[in-house]
């Protein structure tokens, strides 16, 4: 948190410099650094650390401003819709928005992608985006109805022709077993019946919007163009008893057995925190019937 406060303070100090712009060349920033360090009594090391954090979040100007002053740390009830008009691949049938948001934060935050996050590895910034209660993200999970389902395949074949020229020490390739085995794996795609996926959550509207607007595909097989989001709609909404994870006694996401207000649900085992595909972390839970 100290680093973020430093970044906010530095942001304020830089804005006081006439004509300051984030995209100033390095020599102007060096001059600005000398000025700021002198005025705030900072070491150059402290300035560099704060400046690095500023660069890191410069695509989210709102997060640099004094959060308390602008009131953006408040978590408010939000209704989020992703409009997807073409085909979408959903492996488990659901999309968890908190997992989508965490994925973006992890990948945005490092200079190279990170793909694994255990329960203890939740990104600290996620708490500023979505509200948590007892380690559970207060965010519904969408289970959209799909139609016109279609079976397609993902294929892989060992590049034998290239192996012949590029792998001189390799004498034999067994394509029927092991790492070189070819595959032809089916998967299902379909269209959203309503044309959109929707979620409810208690979250920070500025952070949620800035993260989601960088997201152009949802679901599985995004690299092959599936689940392209035509547009996002994020709006504050009214609440109900149990908002946003329970409605009329039905859980809108997997919830632990001691969650209040759940009376119309089925018992099962489910993973309660992202990544939700990790079945080794399943525990007793309620899900909607």
């Amino acid at each position: 948190m100290g680093a973020r406060e430093d970044a906010a303070e530095l942001s304020e100090a830089l804005r006081r410099i006439t004509g300051f712009r984030m995209d100033w060349p390095e020599y102007l920033l060096d001059a600005a650094a000398a000025d700021v360090c002198d005025r705030l009594g900072w070491s150059r090391k402290r300035y560099d650390a704060a400046r690095a954090l500023m660069r890191h979040v410069q695509h989210e100007p709102a997060s640099l401003a004094s959060p308390a002053a602008s009131g953006i740390t408040q978590h408010v009830p939000l209704h989020v819709r992703a409009y997807v008009s073409q085909q979408l691949v959903l492996r488990s049938g659901t999309i968890a928005l908190d997992a989508v948001l965490e994925w973006i934060i992890w990948n945005r935050g490092s200079s190279k992608p990170v793909s694994s996050s255990g329960r203890g590895q939740r990104h600290p910034e996620l708490h500023e985006v979505v509200l948590f209660q007892d380690q559970i993200a207060l965010c519904s999970h969408a289970k959209p109805e799909m139609f016109e389902m279609e079976r397609r395949y993902v294929n892989r074949r060992m590049p034998i022709n290239l192996a012949r020229h590029l792998c001189d020490d390799v004498r034999r390739i067994n394509m029927s077993v092991g790492a070189e085995k070819s595959y032809h794996i089916p998967y299902s795609t379909g269209f959203l019946k309503d044309g959109f996926v929707e979620w409810w959550l208690l979250g920070n509207p500025v952070h949620v919007a800035s993260l989601l607007f960088k997201t152009r595909h949802i679901g599985a097989r995004r690299g092959a163009g599936y689940g392209r989001v035509d547009r996002w709609e994020i709006a504050e909404c009214s609440t109900w008893d149990g908002f946003p994870v329970v409605r009329d006694g039905k859980p809108l996401r997997a919830l632990p057995h001691d969650w209040p207000g759940v009376f119309d649900a089925a018992p099962t085992f489910a993973t309660l925190t992202a990544p939700y595909w990790d079945m080794t972390k399943e525990e007793p839970a309620w899900v909607g019937t």
Binding site: S110, S111, K112, P113, F191, K214, G223, R228
Partner: protein
């Protein structure tokens, strides 16, 4: 961090034949269900995003090997792991601890093999997410025009379009049986020639006797087969979206695009020059910068600069590229 979208219009210079499946001796063209503007769902011919993305991956991998001086007789000496990682994205081998992400090693690998960061893959029991989303190459026709980018819809290319049904053709080809050719029979060893002659006699006898079982047993291997193709001259539109974190990644992307587009061969029957595509127009936009979101930038001025960062970087780190590829488990 920068997110960019590239939009291409490609012309089929030869017939395109990416097969979806076969029925007997007939090959069907690849199609995809699309929801049209009127809400109906129809199957429309495409070239799959997977095939197109693979072309980019392969182009980037070959460029990396070339810049590192590893292309040529006996120069690469890759392991099968490295080959899989470069050209097929690797796989989870189960070696290593997937719950323990060694970020430093991952960063080094992505630094020395920049294409890995862009296209993603499975390395050392870690899944590395790609940063490129590639769309299908969709046949430009009356059914799909509404989904094409605005600049294509408003261009000359969008005029006089027909339904995709008019753009399909059926080819028939025959694999000849050399056994029934008298001249080729002279090349056979005496025992083999006797066998073939007996087989031909048995076939004639079966025909005279109208014996279906004997006919089947003595049948020649001549194989007529039919194949649906998309005719030459038609247009496809294609989108590539990418997230890049530095100049090297952006340049790697441009190298991959330029190399792949300079020689785009896609689908089956490439031995008979099917599947040759050529880019005829392109456009793009920087998505992560709201000020440029509405307007496009000129790719033609960007692309000539391609390669300076990528080739300098890989050439300067050739030894480390070689070392990384030798150690990789994918």
């Amino acid at each position: 961090m920068e997110q960019r979208r590239y939009e291409f219009l490609l012309r089929a210079e030869r017939a395109v034949c990416q097969a979806e499946g076969t029925e007997g001796n007939h090959t069907h063209i690849m199609t995809r269900k699309m929801r049209l503007k009127d809400g109906s769902v129809e199957r429309v011919p495409i070239v799959t995003a997977d095939a197109a993305r693979h072309q980019l991956r392969e182009a980037a991998a070959l460029a990396t090997l070339s810049a590192a001086g590893m292309l040529g007789e006996g120069k690469a000496n890759l392991t099968t792991s490295a080959l899989r990682m470069l050209f097929a994205g690797g796989m989870l081998t189960g070696k290593g601890d997937p719950s323990n992400v060694k970020l430093d090693e991952l960063r080094k690998l992505v630094e020395f093999v920049p294409s890995l960061g862009l296209f993603g893959g499975c390395v050392n029991s870690q899944m590395i997410a790609g940063q490129i989303q590639v769309s299908d190459m969709v046949l430009l026709c009356t059914e799909t025009l509404d989904f094409a980018p605005e600049w294509i819809r408003e261009s000359e290319h969008a005029k006089n379009l027909l339904s995709w049904r008019d753009y399909l053709d059926e080819e028939q080809r025959v694999r000849f049986d050399p056994e029934i050719n008298r001249e080729k029979q002279r090349l056979l060893a005496p025992g083999a020639r006797d066998f073939v002659e007996r087989k031909l006699e048995a076939k004639d006898r079966a025909h005279d006797e109208d014996n279906a079982v004997a006919k089947e047993a003595a049948k020649s291997t001549m194989l007529p087969r039919t194949c649906e193709v998309i005719i030459p001259g038609v247009l496809f539109y294609w989108e590539v979206e990418a997230t890049t974190w530095n100049a090297l990644e952006l340049d790697t992307l441009h190298v991959a695009l330029k190399a792949a587009l300079s020689r785009f061969r896609i689908g089956g029957k490439q031995g008979t020059k099917h599947g040759v595509l050529r880019a005829v127009a392109m456009d793009g936009s920087i998505l992560s910068d709201p000020s440029t979101r509405a307007k496009s930038y000129d790719l033609a001025t960007e692309m000539p600069k391609t390669g300076s960062v990528f080739f300098d970087h890989v050439t300067a780190n050739a030894a480390k590229v070689r070392e990384s590829l030798a150690k990789v488990e994918a």
